[in-house]
């Protein structure tokens, strides 16, 4: 059965239909052809599909597309301001936290949500924010560096 979805993505109104069994991730990638949110485990275990939904980071792969109705959604495509990268995006590049880059969009969304909650995250804050984001390339060192660098820049500490 088809459902109509009226939602706002990255500040733009979007209207489209999809089968009721469609996940929000499938809606983004296959219906809207927005490839930034990544498909990996499809079970809510890896965080590669993380988007911000009404201000909260969620796994779009286990969220119904139908639940996008009336919601404000931010995806990775909505962070940069034209050619100017968001500080979290820039920090990931600057610390070498982008190797293959597949976990990167999901990570950036989780980190953006974290830095919306707190301007000086502790190690515990970081672990809470991104324990659900798996990276297979970096061993997490340079990702932690990027989070601190982004936080410091956004708070004007560097």
């Amino acid at each position: 059965m088809s459902v109509t979805i009226n939602t706002r993505i990255n500040g733009q109104s979007v209207s489209a239909s999809a089968d009721a069994s469609t996940s929000l991730l499938e809606f983004l990638r296959d219906v809207l052809e927005m490839k930034g949110s990544k498909l990996c485990c499809n079970t809510g275990e890896c965080g590669a599909c993380t988007v911000i939904y009404n201000g909260k980071p969620i796994n779009s792969c286990v969220t119904m597309a139908a639940d996008a109705n009336g919601a404000e959604i931010t995806t990775i495509e909505g962070l940069a301001d034209g050619a100017k990268l968001h500080p979290v995006q820039q920090a990931f590049i600057d610390t070498g936290a982008v190797q293959c880059g597949y976990c990167t969009p999901g990570y950036i969304m989780s980190v953006k949500a974290l830095l919306d909650r707190t301007t000086k995250p502790t190690q515990a804050d970081i672990e809470e924010a991104v324990s659900g984001n798996i990276c297979r390339c970096t061993g997490y060192n340079k990702i932690v560096d990027a989070i601190h660098l982004a936080a410091d820049r956004m708070a004007g500490r560097v």
Binding site: M1, V3, D19, A20, S21, S23, N42, T43, G44, E45, G47, T50, Y53, K56, P57, I58, N59, C61, V62, T63, M64, A66, D67, S110, E128, A129, S131, G132, N133
Partner: protein, 289 residues
């Protein structure tokens, strides 16, 4: 696959009456969406998130009422919950990832009726009750009678869980929820142990002990023999050892891809011991002698 978005409890019950056998209720979706992708697509999906009034945490008399659609994150960030029902708060705090906690609901976790469901052992030790709506009226079921087997609970295919009622534990009680995992909160609990201890007014003996075990039987369970053993006694080293061993024997875990049954029993023993020590110290100020 049919799709329904009922706008009220009665509308939901009407849909469930017609379609409950082949349709699935979906709340947060973190379990049901995986079923859809990897198992069979159900005959229908009943999205209950549009029903008003099923979310929220409120004091009610000497206890809390939690709407079934309250997210795990809402429970985790509730100062009221953390203060009044810390054993349930601890389960919410060790529940999967932040992304999952933002959408998963306590009602979903309960009705999934997985033996390892994080909130279940805490609900058992809190003597919480499920408020169920059926076409022919409401029912209040204690969680100790709510779970019938993996995936089977008192809601059945036609009922709707609307609310969870939790009385405050007796004054002076202390509780803890210990989750055993390889990595941490991200894992499905290999063993979950919830302990609630109430000392007597003189803080010398255990007035009441409640021990809930998760992931070690077809349903979450109360270790009632262990509770009976502990009642009325001071928690000394020998009793602690005996109680931990008895709790392990009350569990009936299986061998699966996560662990052997033997190992799970060792962990029940270890976590029961640690849980009793911690709650005894918190409740009485005493170390176990």
């Amino acid at each position: 696959m049919e799709y329904f978005e009922p706008k009220s409890v009665s509308e939901a019950l009407a849909v469930l009456a017609r379609h409950g056998a082949e349709a699935k209720v979906i709340a947060g979706g973190t379990d049901v969406m995986v079923d859809i992708k990897f198992k069979e697509e159900p005959g229908g999906l009943i999205n209950i998130k549009k029903i008003p009034g099923l979310s929220g945490i409120a004091e009610h008399g000497a206890g809390l009422r939690i709407g079934a659609l309250t997210t795990i994150r809402e429970i985790e960030t509730s100062a009221l919950m953390r203060e009044k029902l810390p054993v349930l708060w601890e389960a919410a705090h060790q529940f999967a990832s932040l992304q999952v906690r933002n959408t998963a609901t306590i009602g979903g976790n309960i009705c999934r009726a997985s033996p390892s469901g994080e909130t279940l052992a805490p609900l058992l030790v809190l003597d919480a009750r499920a408020k169920l709506a059926f076409a022919d009226g409401e029912k209040s079921v204690p969680f100790t009678a709510f779970f019938q087997g993996p995936g089977k609970c008192s809601a059945g295919v036609h009922g709707l869980l609307t609310e969870i009622e939790i009385p405050y534990p007796p004054a002076g009680s202390r509780g803890v929820y210990l989750k055993h995992a390889v990595r941490g909160a991200m894992d499905i609990a290999m063993v979950g142990v919830a302990v609630l201890l109430t000392p007597d007014p003189g803080k010398n003996n255990i007035q009441d002990a409640r021990i809930g075990l998760g992931a070690v039987a077809p349903t979450p369970l109360r270790a009632s023999k262990t509770e009976a053993l502990l009642r009325g006694k001071p928690l000394a080293a020998a009793l602690l050892k005996e109680a931990a061993a008895l709790a392990a024997s009350e569990s009936s875990p299986i061998n699966d891809q996560r662990s052997s049954a033997e190992y799970r029993r060792w962990i029940v023993e270890a976590l029961t011991r640690r849980g009793l020590e911690q709650t005894w110290k918190a409740a009485t100020g005493k170390e176990v002698a």
